[in-house]
Symmetry: C2
Subunit: 200 residues, 2 copies
């Protein structure tokens, strides 16, 4: 990525920095965060309706205490809930908690995916981004279990990084996700059709 | 990607193959395609509400004759419009035309992005996937113009491959997209915050 970094514009001073607004399009009450927030209402917000990530990768949640739908948030501007929400069929316009995501070096991210739960059945090691697991040879539209060896990953319900999002991290559950119910409190099926590494 | 290809499951017999259904969840009238369709109504469909891509990468359009919102479609299952639609704020439940996307070798995909229209201002060459252009050093949330040197790319309005999608191809307009109005008939702003290569 060196060509882009050559013209690096205002390099981040903090490893993790995010500014959130109570209204869409960066309007209304505003606050900067450099670490996790378990309940935005404790900061006097009724909701988050727009945000800008200045540095680091973050994960946002539908409910307080990191519950409900998950949204990966990377550096850039999100003027409206549609910029981060994964599922269009089940709209999420609520955003009540968030935390930083600690990643390994992008290049060294590794994850094993397994055909069946509890790390059984056919398995492959992923070390790249896969907009379609089936295009790369995976046998169907489901993954039974996953083990994150290094880094942090986003898994998606549909190809092309669409649908429900699940953030999986080496730093959590020792990287073990033995059943789709462990992927997140909103997980309803083992459907996973695209997977990518989270970059800093 | 060799670990996955080792267990390649029913390898595609055709370079481009897609099956579409008139109803959600692969129900109702169904037809297989191996090449473009300019208007699904000419095949007796009133709309496409679910599909499965068997091989190749395709681009779907909101309107007939490749007009309106664009959706990248990669190998896998799309049971509902929310699996392909990019923008949640402007729902698209219509899917009236589609065509194959011809890609260069994934590894050799190259694109130049420019700060201003008509290939002016600061520029960088992209040859990888960028879930956040700003994280990689791009100066703001906009791109003025783009030139695809090799392969085919998807550009997205928001970070993390979300929001409006624009499919840009070396094979079209000689790869030149000198103004955001050339990105697609639905383009309304120069906002581009994530970019990735299209793989076969």
């Amino acid at each position: 990525v060196w060509p882009l970094t050559l013209l690096l514009h205002n390099p981040p001073l903090l490893l993790f920095q995010m500014i959130v607004w109570e209204q869409e399009h960066f309007q209304g009450k505003c606050q900067e965060f450099t670490s996790e927030c378990t309940n935005i209402m404790n900061c006097g917000f009724d909701n988050i309706r727009s945000l800008r990530v200045e540095s680091g990768a973050w994960v946002g949640y539908e409910h307080h205490d990191f519950q409900g739908q998950q949204f990966i948030l990377e550096r850039g501007e999100y003027p409206h809930w549609s910029g981060w929400s994964g599922s269009l069929s089940y709209h999420v316009e609520r955003f009540m908690s968030f935390r930083p995501v600690y990643c390994a070096s992008h290049r060294s991210s590794r994850m094993m995916i397994y055909e069946k739960e509890n790390f059984m059945g056919r398995t492959v090691e992923l070390c790249d981004d896969y907009p379609s697991l089936q295009a790369m040879g995976w046998m169907n539209n489901e993954v039974g279990s996953m083990h994150v060896q290094s880094g942090a990953w986003v898994c998606y319900q549909y190809p092309g990084y669409r649908g429900y999002q699940y953030i999986l991290e080496c730093e959590r559950h020792s990287g073990d996700y033995q059943h789709w119910k462990n992927w997140g409190s909103h997980a309803q099926t083992p459907q996973i059709q695209s997977v990518r590494r989270i970059q800093h």
